[in-house]
Each structure stands twice: as C-alpha cells, then as structure tokens.
C-alpha cells in the first residue's frame, strides 16, 4: 500500500489566483495541496495548471466528498473518481475528513459532524478500509472543527480517531485550527487534546484562520479559512513540533483569497519553526 506523506517543510493550498506566482517554481515550498473535487473535470486549464505545478512541487490531494463518517459507504462512482485522479496525478498524499457530507444521494457541500459511538466507529473504519483498498494507498484522516457534540457519544474525539488509525492503519492529518475552534466551542483545553492525540501517526498539519462570532451569552468560533493563522493556533503548532519534531505543514486559505505574499508569509513562518526544530533542515 502506497504511503501518504507530504515532504517535510511548509506548503500552501493552491488557488488558481496564485498560478502566476507559482508556475515558474521559484517560490520555495515543500508541497502544494488542492481539493481533489475541484480537479475532477476532464481537461482544460485546471488540469494543465496542476500538471505544470507538479513539475516544481509535490502535490497533495485533499478530498471533501467521500463522506467517511456517513451511514452509507462512500459513493462508488465518486470513489472511482478519486482513484482516477490519484492515478492521474500520483500525489504524495491523499487525505479526507472525519465527517459526513452525503445523505440519501444528496451532497450538502459541508463537513457535517457525527456522534462518536461503537457503531459509528465500526462504520467509519469499514469506509476507510474500502477507500484504502480501492486506492491501494494509505489515506490521512483529518480531525474536524465542530459546533455541536452529540448526547449519544460514548468516545472522546481523540480516542475515536486513535481507534480508527489503529484499526485501519490510516495516517492522520492534524488540523490545529480545527482543534482550536472545537476547543473554543466546546470549552475544552486544546493543549489537553494534543496531549492525548496520537501525534506519532500525524503525517501532515493544517494551519488556517477562523472567525469569531460574539454573542451576549457565548462566543462561537467558525472555521472559515479566510484569514491569517491566529496566534493561538501558532502556539498549538509550537507545542506539537516541539514534542514530536517537524511535520509537513500546510497553510490553508479557501475564501477571500489574499495576495500570494500574504499566504506565503504564513508558510515561511511555519517553515522557520519547522527548520528550528529540525536543526539543519533546509527548505527544498
């Protein structure tokens, strides 16, 4: 089974607005990442852009549509699309989310939460087994940002994810903004979450920005990916890499796309910290 492991160092999520900045390959980045579903057309400019960028950077594919946490198995047709795009682009990694997005044939275009129970654990593992068998590659599973938790949950999120990784052999994608958002929304300690998280299975870290909605009686953190990484999330990043050493790290930015220099500044900051903990590690 092919491993999913982006190269050490910092990467950015690629948006077509930044193609001119990246197409010459002059920018020092370890990898770029795209949402796989945005490149499932048959041809045209999007495919050509990725082909060009692959000449300069390792490519990581990040799926949003397999609905791993759903009741039904992943849609076979969509799974075949994912397989085809992995074969086409030979990414260094394929990752997906601990969430569901499809129900009874309707796709909600959002990452929806699931209760953490013995039943959903078994189901999620079955779905990941199917995906990994079909793709003939290990996938990375990303922890979610959530706004609610379920009364019927009998597992903590960390234990649930740990169990999935143990049972399926998948790797993990640790989204530290998601940890911070969920911790704020559910009043738990993000640092405690990380203490218990199986960091040795983490192959990639995501850093992103979030919004804060302040109400009279509570504060809600929203996972928006539309701004620079917050200082609280940088602190979590420091905790993780100080504990286990450098891990491939991606700056995600999906809405209100900024000038490339703004995105790159966050990537350079991440790379500086990774380099610090790697001692002699040099950006590729």
């Amino acid at each position: 089974m092919q491993e999913s492991r982006p190269p050490l160092g910092a990467g950015v999520s690629f948006k077509p607005d930044h193609y001119e900045d990246l197409s010459s390959g002059q920018v020092e980045l370890s990898f770029i990442e795209v949402h796989a579903e945005n490149y499932m057309g048959s041809g045209g400019r999007p495919i050509a852009m990725l082909d060009r960028l692959r000449q300069h950077y390792s490519l990581s594919l990040h799926g949003v549509g397999l609905s791993i946490g759903g009741e039904a198995p992943p849609d076979p047709q969509h799974l075949q699309r994912v397989k085809a795009i992995c074969e086409r682009f030979q990414p260094c990694s394929f990752s997906e989310h601990l969430a569901w997005s499809t129900h009874e044939g309707a796709y909600f275009n959002d990452l929806l939460p699931l209760p953490y129970t013995a039943q959903t654990l078994g189901r999620g593992c079955d779905h990941i087994d199917l995906i990994q068998t079909t793709l003939k590659r290990e996938i990375l599973l990303e922890n979610p940002a959530t706004y609610i938790t379920f009364s019927e949950s009998t597992w903590t999120e960390v234990d649930f994810i740990h169990q999935i990784a143990q049972r399926t052999g998948c790797g993990l994608l640790l989204d530290l903004n998601n940890v911070h958002v969920s911790a704020g929304n559910h009043s738990f300690s993000a640092q405690d979450y990380l203490v218990h998280f199986p960091l040795q299975k983490v192959r990639e870290i995501h850093l992103a920005g979030h919004a804060i909605e302040q109400f009279e009686d509570e504060k809600l953190l929203i996972d928006t990916h539309d701004r620079t990484v917050s200082e609280e999330v940088w602190d979590l990043f420091e905790t993780v890499i100080a504990t286990v050493g450098p891990i491939a790290t991606l700056i995600e930015w999906d809405q209100d796309i900024p000038q490339f220099s703004t995105l790159l500044a966050d990537a350079q900051r991440a790379n500086a910290r990774l380099t610090h903990y790697a001692g002699t590690m040099v950006a590729p």
Partner: protein
C-alpha cells in the same frame, strides 16, 4: 438515524430536535451548519452564473439561488457542474416572467463551464484552398468538439450575455433571436453568435451524419443559409474535433 434527523432539519429549516446535542445552544450551533450549506451552495451558483447574477442584481439572484438550493441539492461532490438545472428552474419562477431571456443567458453559462472543463482535443483544421481535401472531408463522419455546444434562443441572449460583462450594460439594439456557440480554443472558452443552421448542423453531426449531408440538412431547414458559411463557421469556431487526435487518444 441521527444523520436522518440532521439532514431533515438542515433541509426543512426547522429548529433542531431536542436532546440530540450535548453542547452550547443547539439552535445557534445548528444554524452554523445550515448557513454553511446554504452559503456554500449559493456561492457555487454565483460563481457559475456571474452574468445571470449581474443581470438580476445580487439580492434577487441570491433569493432565486436559495429557492433552487432548497429543491435541488447536488447529487455529486464535483461542484463545478452543480446548477445544470438552474436555467430551467429560472423559467418556473413567476417573479421572472418578464425576464424570459434570462434562462438562455444562464444556459450560456452552463455551457461555458462544461467547455472549460471538457477533455482536451484539437479542433478540426482544413488547409485553405485545398478543394480535394474539402471534398474528402464532406464525405466523412466527424464528432462535435467535446467543448462545443450550440443552441438557439428566441431572444438576443448572446448579446445580453456579452453586454453584462461591460461597465454599462445597455439593452440590445435589435431584439431578435440568436444562435449561440460555446466552445474552447486551447484553454480559452469562447462565445460566438453563429448562423442558425449551425445548431441544426451540429445536431446532425452528433447523430453520425456525414459532414456534407449535415450541412445540407442545415441549409434545407432554412434556405437563407449558405453551405460555405456553415462550413466556415464550424471551422472558425472550433466546433468539430480533429479525428486524428481522437484516434491517437483511443490508441494511447
């Protein structure tokens, strides 16, 4: 089961069910998910239908898009093609009765996305002035270019679409029907006004009729049309696929 309840309440806009959630104010928390779903889907439509949005104005477009989103959820996570049904849906909205051309403008935008993501194929090219070659080609079967679509509108939809992208969009000078071809040259999507017979001709070619006969059918449907003009349009607008490249692709 929870997924059933969650999905039903996401769709209906009803309050979240009691006892399901363990943290925060369930109504407010649940609303984040509902907003995310509606916002992401209406944003996908706004991205795909920029001219339709400019013509309607953002507020009116958002209202139409929200109605569509309530009835038509995507059936695939490949969002680039979400909204294929949006033009037809616009024709069912009573508030748009006075905008009969709008659905055809939206159809142009559907075709543009399809063309943008279509498989790469070289268009058919002929050597200028090579009469023998033209004769040979008239007796051959071709495929429409995979990026191409041609349709007829009883309104000046192509002109309205083009004007919507300008600073000061003015009504068309002549209010007449138009035939619109959408295709791609290299990676650039092109929208062209073409003779009406072009749509008939492409339809016949798509059914496997040889090129010369397809042109004849188009001209027969309206005697005003000139066979040479139709052929020139097919070539100029990249409406036919190069059979050599198709063959190479199949053999690769």
């Amino acid at each position: 089961m929870i997924e059933d309840v969650f999905a039903r309440h996401l769709r209906s806009g009803a309050e979240p069910p009691e006892g399901l959630f363990a943290s925060g104010r369930p109504d407010r928390r649940f609303e984040v998910y509902r907003n995310n779903v509606v916002h992401s889907l209406t944003t996908a439509l706004a991205t795909r239908f920029p001219a339709t949005q400019r013509l309607l104005g953002i507020e009116c477009f958002q209202a139409c898009a929200q109605l569509f989103v309530e009835s038509y959820k995507p059936i695939s996570p490949v969002m680039m093609f979400y909204g294929d049904d949006f033009p037809a849906y616009l024709t069912t909205l009573p508030s748009l009765t006075n905008w009969p051309f709008l659905a055809d403008v939206a159809r142009i935008e559907v075709a543009r996305t399809r063309a943008y993501h279509a498989i790469d194929r070289a268009p058919l090219r002929l050597k200028v002035g090579d009469a023998d070659e033209i004769e040979t080609y008239l007796n051959r079967v071709f495929n429409p270019h995979p990026a191409a679509s041609v349709f007829h509108s009883p309104y000046p939809a192509g002109t309205i679409w083009a004007a919507s992208g300008t600073e000061e969009a003015l009504p068309p000078e002549a209010w007449r029907d138009e035939t619109i071809a959408v295709t791609r040259a290299a990676y650039e999507v092109q929208v062209s006004l073409v003779p009406r017979g072009t749509a008939i001709c492409i339809d016949a070619i798509g059914k496997g009729v040889v090129l010369g006969e397809a042109i004849a059918i188009a001209c027969h449907a309206d005697e005003e049309y000139d066979p040479a003009l139709i052929l020139a349009t097919l070539l100029r607008c990249n409406l036919l696929a190069d059979p050599q490249q198709e063959s190479d692709h199949e053999n690769s």
